[in-house]
Subunit: 392 residues, 2 copies
Amino acid sequence: MLNFDFQSPTRILFGKDEESRVGELLKPHAKKVLVHYGGGSVKRSGLLDRVCASLIQSQIAYIELGGVVPNPRLSLVREGIELCRDENVDYILALGGGSVIDSAKSIAMGVFFEGDVWEIFEAYNPIQKALPIATVLTIPAAGSETSAITVLSNEDKQLKLSFGSPHLHPRLSIINPELFFSLPKNQIANGIADMMSHVFERYFTNTVHTDLTDGLCESLLKTVMTNARLVIDDPYDYEAWCEIGFSAMLAHNGLLGMGRQQDWACHGMEHELSALYDVAHGAGLAVLTPAWMRYVYHENIPMFMQFAVNVMGVDSGFRHPNALIEQAIGRLQEFYKRMGLPLTLRELDINDSQLELMAEKATRASRSKRKPLGGLKPLDTQDVLAIYRLAL
Amino acid sequence: MLNFDFQSPTRILFGKDEESRVGELLKPHAKKVLVHYGGGSVKRSGLLDRVCASLIQSQIAYIELGGVVPNPRLSLVREGIELCRDENVDYILALGGGSVIDSAKSIAMGVFFEGDVWEIFEAYNPIQKALPIATVLTIPAAGSETSAITVLSNEDKQLKLSFGSPHLHPRLSIINPELFFSLPKNQIANGIADMMSHVFERYFTNTVHTDLTDGLCESLLKTVMTNARLVIDDPYDYEAWCEIGFSAMLAHNGLLGMGRQQDWACHGMEHELSALYDVAHGAGLAVLTPAWMRYVYHENIPMFMQFAVNVMGVDSGFRHPNALIEQAIGRLQEFYKRMGLPLTLRELDINDSQLELMAEKATRASRSKRKPLGGLKPLDTQDVLAIYRLAL
């Protein structure tokens, strides 16, 4: 096991009706709140009204900024920063999924930054301060409700970059699984693929003697796959949504990767897809992950055998490991298909015309952390290109 | 799944040599530190010298207070409170296991309390403030390094009570598994029984649809039992100690009990044992837990079948559930015996003379939380007495 440094200070309120307490909970900390959200769904569902009523009841002033889109954009973040400065906002409340929360985090740190907020992503230097953030989660997927990470798309530069800082941990996240009942099936499926990838990126490792986190990762993956089948068939299954919502949070609060070398190649490759083609992050991951597995598993056969047996339920038998691992990857693809997720880039209307460009960007040296890509097998540009081609 | 409210803000530094960073880490927060510890082992091992050297290097003033004993005592806590007030201590650094950390927590809250600190335990009213605490863990067992709970023994009244508050979460806990190499075998075994009990108390529940936390509990229990066998044979097995140290922390930071009705009957019954006979907490738990299981399992056969198959590795077969569960409890006792732990009260030199008194105290109504005892099957005085007798 490797040395590690872990902290996940976010308070989690979980369960039915918890969002109605938001005013009471923010009262000691907030004078003026920016309520940040995406499109019309928080209005249609009544969530925005309920949350604002709670703020009003606790006599907390607020302003609203909607309009966050999937793969949240720099332009709106800049607008949010100006708004927070002009209105003396001292707390941001994000109502939404990972995109809204990431947009809120980018605004929160941009408010105290003298230059343009995109410079923080480009330079990746530590920040000193950010506005406090609370979230009411509407899509279990990105794990941004506990993570210290934000991802932002620069639409002019066709770049999607991530940035992390302890100052970006939300102080409070409210997870009411009833809010997931109205999600469209494709968003459910994308979220499932995303949270599973957050575990895969930590699970697949060359670090040995990681019994505890191996077991935690395996438990989480099995819980997600079991309950994803339930919610995709019956989106009103509250208990199954509880399992999914809890899992999504834990998948990305950092715990499952402690003491382990982590990978993150699939996320790196997928970011190039969604920067260039604006595909859903989860859909991109569902396409790339099996291709990545097939390309790298020879590097660590025991790790992938463990995955096959402990996660995918393949009978260990006495066969050749390759057959066993191939069966596990096949089962994973069957699962993605059952969720309605794409299995190939072509299903995402992506052909081979930009693969070289994406492979080059994914392994670009401008941010030293991203070259080479991945921990289990460090991937150079040609490796990434080969994986994109496998995924066609 | 039940609604829940979870927060575990403690920063964990884990691995070799991490304790040498304590001065640097406390520097921004501490002017004068109380270094709190137990007997001579932190001196003999050189830990106390290393930690004090780190404080000196960071120019942090400190005073020392040693002398904490297992089942930490009110008298020393009172002394610590006076010392902190007289010396204007603003941070407590606990070097030790659960007893030292619990003693530190009691001091930390007593400093700001106007009455005698024991009143906090008796009244169980919320506290408003406590000194910040950091810990360097020397025994993985109690989980006090992340918990918000302290347990204190009043030697005059022969009472052992617990108290919890969010103000008691340590800010920082340093876990270097190398510090566990010198533990005597009986302390190792007691610690293993304690951390397993922290999971059992959360695992055995009547709450249904708790897939994720079921799996996390099962992974943790299996990890502990696998690696306990390794460290009891070879106390210098660093990797096995890593698994144990990580597990002990996670067993009691709250996560594994979220969304579940919890039990805590065994802890309640054991507290009476160690209040009256000063036995080691883990040893008492090893004796009482199987007796408790035999007494209550009929209340929730599916839960105990799951334990038998998923944790103890009993072949599910098609036999009568009672046989299957009995086999699992037998295996658990074999494991405790392998650790060198007692299986009966008589092995602890406890006869039946005080059982009625202990059963009465365990279910006493003076603190409403403790009557009846336990969640899976609420136990009245006669139930507790029957379990004590089963354990003779």
